[in-house]
Structures are given as C-alpha cells and as structure tokens.
C-alpha cells in the first residue's frame, strides 16, 4: 500500500525536495521541542524513560530519549500523532500523508529504500519502523551511529494487526498507558463493527479494484489488505471467491466470473481513469452486476487501507457503505460521502440495460 502511495508521490518528490527539502529543514528542526520541554501542557503523555525492550527483530534495545523521533512508516507516524507524540517526530517517510502535520514534516525517503546519512542528518534519538523498513544494511549503519532502531511487527493477515502494533510502539517509546487506551478503544470499535456487520441482511460480493490509470488495473484476491477490510465489513471479496491470490491484473473474463455487486476503489484510482464513467469503460466492468447498476464505492486511499489507528473507523464506514440497509452514521462522512456513488440504474449513464 505504501508502495502505491509513494509511487504517486514519486513524480513530485524530486521537484518538491529540490524546492522545499533542504531550506525547509532548518526551521522545522528549530521548532522541535527538546527533551526538557514540558509535554504535559500540550496534552501529550509523559514518556517513562529509559525503556529496555526486545523488538520484532529480537534485538534488545534501550531507549533513553524520544525527543527526536524519525518514523520510517506512514502507519506508525499516524499512530505517533494519535498517541500525542507528534511533536517529537522530526522527520518521516514519504508514505506519511496523515495527519497533515505529519505530511508536512521533512522526508527521509521511502521506507524500503532508506539511506543512513539522510536519517542521521536529523539527529534522531530514536528511529522507528515496521519490518518492511530497509535495506537491512542501512539500519545497521544507523545503529552503528549509536541511534536505537525499533522495529515493530504485526500480523499482516489480521484486522487487529494495527492494535498489536500500537501496543508495541507505546511500549518502545515509554507510553504504554496511552497506547493501551488507544488500542482498547480501537478494539472496541472493531468489535462493534463485527456486531454491526453480523446484523446486516445482505452479503454483497465486493470487488476491490486497485487502479492507477489505464496501465495498472488490479483485482484484489486473498492475502491482501483489501480482502481483510471487505471480509471484516461483512461482505464477500469477489476476487478471493474466484481463487485469486494477491493482486492480479484485471481481465474482462475474471471480472465477469467474479460478478461483483459492488465495486470498491480508491478515490485517487477512480480519478485516474476519469471517475465512474471512465471506470465503467474498463472492459468487463459494464457486464458485472455492479457495472449494470453503477454501484461504485470510493474511499480515500489511506483511510481505507492505511491500517493505522483509524482502522476501526474506516471499517465501520465501509460496513455502512456496503450495506445500505444498515442504519448508522459514518464516523468520517467526509471520507465516505464525497465520491461514494450508490447509484440506481436510472441515475447511472452507463447502466441502462436494454432488457
């Protein structure tokens, strides 16, 4: 998922960094509070330091200071902000797009293609990332410079993965209570969604299409984050149902076989093919039940598949979007309302079955 986000950003990355990167860095560094500044006044939890933990790599790490955090993963950055530690983050990676304060921070590159000197130039007291961070050699170089590197890891095939990750982050950074509170509330949300989804009468077949213009059109099968959220929302992942594993290029026949009632897409992906009209032009889509009725649900990329602290909210909103019969208010209507089109056949221009 990060791959996709960063690919989109990639085009602008060079220009952005050239224009803003280096000059913008100095003021940002200057604003960052040092370890002595009172965190309590801003509502942030006071970290209990030093902490010694065993991280996901099995290494024993002692963290004595979290005043300058470099986060190399977008979900983790989001969690840090949710935990009230955002003020300590001095730099993050290009997958950090939410909240806007995180997106505005200077970037150290992309989580899988880090460079040690870039990270060290921010004088971090701790670097945190997930098990996708790398290359491994670069992380070793950062450790050699005396900066602790914390790697968190969670089950990628569980909707509760983010909860696990939040607890690990809280433990590593000396804020276990705050993390526990956040984790418990997300767990409660997810359980609520489970009940909500179970109460739904319909069990629609949903196809998640990952689209980036005409060149990249993929259908999600099993072992994808899309599969997790669709299943959690009480729907059938049509791609998985026809035996796809991972993301597979869309073929008209696969689409027709999958016979989705609803097509789920990312807002940016939908825009890249020119909206719903463009989507219905993709061969095969018009021949599916979803295409015939023009039922397309679009979510903002990170909100739906970010697997950060908003996972409970996004799955809740997705459940409501996929089951129109359910009553309830979306938690974040702005993500869900703008591009969602649950159109009736009459309203949709491309869907006027002759029969």
């Amino acid at each position: 998922m990060h791959a996709r986000i960063s690919r989109r950003c990639g085009a602008f990355l060079l220009a952005l960094t050239l224009v803003f990167g280096t000059p913008a860095m100095a003021p940002v560094l200057a604003q960052t509070p040092d370890a002595a500044s009172p965190a309590a006044s801003t509502g942030a939890p006071t970290p209990q330091l030093p902490v010694t933990i065993t991280d996901a790599t099995g290494a024993e790490i002692t963290i004595t200071d979290i005043s300058r955090i470099v986060s190399v993963n977008g979900d983790i950055t989001e969690t840090l902000f949710a935990l009230g530690l955002g003020q300590y983050v001095v730099a993050d990676d290009i997958s950090a797009l939410y909240p806007p304060e995180a997106a505005a921070l200077p970037k150290v590159g992309y989580a899988r293609d880090l460079n040690a000197e870039g990270i060290l130039s921010f004088n971090p007291t701790v670097v945190i990332g997930d098990d996708g961070a790398g290359p491994a050699e670069v992380l070793d170089q950062v450790r050699a410079a005396g900066v602790p590197v914390v790697i968190v890891s969670s089950d990628p095939n569980s909707i509760y993965g983010p909860v696990d990750e939040i607890r690990q982050i809280g433990e590593a950074l000396g804020v276990p209570e705050a993390a526990e509170t956040l984790a418990t509330s997300i767990e409660a949300q997810l359980q609520e969604v489970e009940t909500l989804a179970a109460s739904a009468e319909s069990q629609p077949r949903v196809a998640f299409l990952y689209i980036r213009g005409a060149g990249t059109q993929l259908l999600a099968g099993t072992n994808t984050s899309a599969d997790l959220v669709i299943t959690a929302a009480g729907a059938i992942n049509a791609g998985a149902d026809i035996g796809l594993d991972g993301y597979a290029p869309i073929t008209p026949e696969a689409l027709v076989t999958a016979a989705p009632d609803i097509i789920l897409v990312m807002q940016d992906g939908l825009a890249s093919v020119g909206g719903v009209d463009g989507l219905l032009q993709i061969p095969g889509i018009a021949q599916t039940p979803a295409g015939e009725s023009g039922t397309v649900v679009a979510f903002e990329d990170l909100y739906l598949l970010g697997f950060g602290p908003r996972i409970g909210e996004s799955v809740h909103d997705l459940t409501l979007a996929l089951h129109p019969e359910l009553e309830g208010e979306p938690i974040n209507p702005q993500w869900q309302g703008t591009d969602v089109e649950i159109a009736t056949p009459e309203a949709s221009p491309a869907a006027s079955p002759a029969a």
């Binding site: 998922m1 990060h2 791959a3 996709r4 960063s6 690919r7 990355l13 060079l14 960094t17 050239l18 990167g21 280096t22 860095m25 730099a91 200077p106 970037k107 150290v108 590159g109 992309y110 899988r112 293609d113 460079n115 040690a116 000197e117 870039g118 990270i119 060290l120 130039s121 921010f122 004088n123 996708g132 790398g134 290359p135 491994a136 050699e137 670069v138 070793d140 170089q141 050699a144 410079a145 005396g146 900066v147 991972g246 993301y247």
Partner: protein, 409 residues
Amino acid sequence: MVKSSTDTLLTTDPRSRVRTMCARLRAIWTLPLTISASTPYPLLVIALIVSLLLNLGMGAVSVAPDQVITILGTHLRAIVTDLPGWGVVVDLPGTGMARSLARAFAGTDLYAWITADATRQQDAVVWTIRLPRLLMGCIAGAGLAVSGAALQGIFRNPLADPGLIGVSSGAALGAVVATVLSIGIWGIWTLPIFAFVGAISVTATVYLIARHEGKTEVVTLLLAGVALNAVIGAGVGLLITYANDQQIRSITFWTMGSLGGTLWEQVGIVFVVTTIGLAIIGRFAMPLNLLVLGEREARHLGVRVERTRGLIMFTTAAMTGASVAFTGSIGFVGLVVPHLVRLWLGPDHRRLLPCSALLGATLMLLADLVSRTVVAPLELPIGVVTSFIGGPFFIWLLLKTRRQQGGWA
C-alpha cells in the same frame, strides 16, 4: 603570432572575435589534457584523490575537513595500535623523540587539525557510512571500466560491456529470485550471493552456447549474449508478475543501483575479487593490443586467442558480478569510460586498462557525490545519475568527435 591574433581581435567583426576568444578558452581548458596525454597518471590520480576528499566531506550531515581528518586519524591509529608488535615499536628508543615532537606540535594549527571535536554521529557518518561506500564506488567503478575496456578488446566491438555477456541480467535474475521467493537463508548476504551466482552462470551459459569444437566465434558470442539477455529479461518479468507491491519496489531500486548501505565486509570481499581480476586482466594488455590487428593475425603473433577470450570473460564476469551483487546495476560506466580514455590517450591497452580503472573510479565517485547531495537528505539512485549525466555527455562527445575527426576513432 601573438601580435597577429591581437590584430584579428581588434580589426575583425565581433562574431569572429568571439570565436577567437572561444578557441583560446578551449585551448586553456584542454591544456591539462593535452599536456598530460604523454603522462596521464598524475592528473588521474589527483582527480581521484580530489573526488575522494570531496566525497568524504560532503553530504546530508555536515562534517568539516578537520573533523574528517581527526575521525580518519582516530580510526587508523586504533587499527595500527591493535596490530601485533605495536608495543615493541612504541618501546623502541627512538620513539621518545616522536613523543617530544608531538609535544612540540601541541597548540599549533596542525595539532588542532588532527584533534578536532567530532560527535559520535559524525564519526559514524564518515567511518561507517561514507568511507565504505566511496571505497565500494572506487572499486566497482574501476572494475566495471576495466571490464568494459577488456571486453571491447576481445570482441573488437565498441558496444561491448559487462551487460552484453549477461553479467547484469544474470545478477538481476539472481536478485529477483531472492527477492520474489523471499529467500533469506543467509540473511543480508542472500541477495548478493544469488546475484553473483546469477551473473557467473549466465555468462558461462553464453560462453558454452558459443563454444563449438573448442572454439568460440565472436559473432556467435555476441548474438548468444543478446538472445540470452532477452530470455533472462522475460524470466525476470515472469517473476515480477508474482511479486507483491513491495517486492516490485525493492527490485526497481536494485536495478537502479545504489552504494548506500555498503558495509566494510562487503568492501573487503569486492576489493579482493577486483584486485585479483585487475591483476589478471592487466597481464593481457599486449594480447589485447595484438587482437586489434585481427584474430588470425594475433594468433600468428603467438596470442592464444581462445584462452585469452575465455579467461577475460570469466574474470570480468566474476569481477563485475561481485560488485554488482552489492551495488545493483550501475549502467554506462563500463561502456563509456574506455571510450573516453581511448579518445584521450589512444587505444594502447597498456595505458587504456590502468587509466580506465582510475577514471572509472573517479567518475563513479563524482556520480555518487551527485546522488548524495542534490536531493539531500534523500538520495538519487546512482545508476540514474551515471546514465543521466553519462548518456548526454557521451552523445555530445560523439557529435564533437564526428565534427573534428570525421568519424568515431
């Protein structure tokens, strides 16, 4: 002479005046190259040293020159004092003098330069990040350039480079296999080992395909290389179909090359392999010169053409395979550097090979400097820099040479 050109400058129209000025500027600019054409080594060595120093001092983390010297000094001293027998040296009678000499220096500018304060972070940046990567750059650049020169020699073809005999595609196949199948048996060494084995085996296959009754034919070799590269490319594509997003990202970065993340152990391995390789290829300077005359002529002059060709192919594959395994593919250096040296110094392999090594190392360092500094704290892939700057420069050189000499030398 001077007078007449001054007259020209004063009397003729502005346009030709500008032209004369340009010609003079060009003469000044190319003066070092012209002078050093007979003894090119001092210039090349100076350029290499300057690039080394620039690379050590510049980057996302700022380290002052005196700090660089202090950091290097501290580590070198630690290495030397760890050597067995060091205690004996210290206790030698003469060293009392060395100590009083050091005391005499204390407080002077020179002393300040070797005892500047450096943070642990700066120390790590210079010693564990910049130094290994720039040494890797030197070694890889030298290896690629010499391989290119030698292959262009044995194939008598200006297009030959390590990529043509399958080194790059083989290494890429190995790297993609390791990445897509998520093989991790040897930890961080898995991918380099796969890439190296891939490079060697594809080159060996090219050679074996072209070998017939104890002989290989140049055209068959080249075409076998082209064909096998296509097959390998398809194999890589097939594997990528099964890769997930993140693996595809990793593969993309690998194919663009990077010196970032170079560890000292890797430098050691590549240094040993490349030194042996350079030594072997260096012994073939004369046979390569004779091969320029043509295969049959070389054979009559006592060159064992078949053996030379096989050994050079194997050596270049091992040498570039080892560095590419760690750095990823870095294009254009192996192709362009030998041509630059030939244009400057002529085709004699006795000079072409060592000068290619020095120039290859220097250009690789400069490319790395660009990749590390233009978008700091981010980095550009070095393969992108070498091709992006190298390509247009080479085209310019091509056109210039055609204009001046009426064709490619």
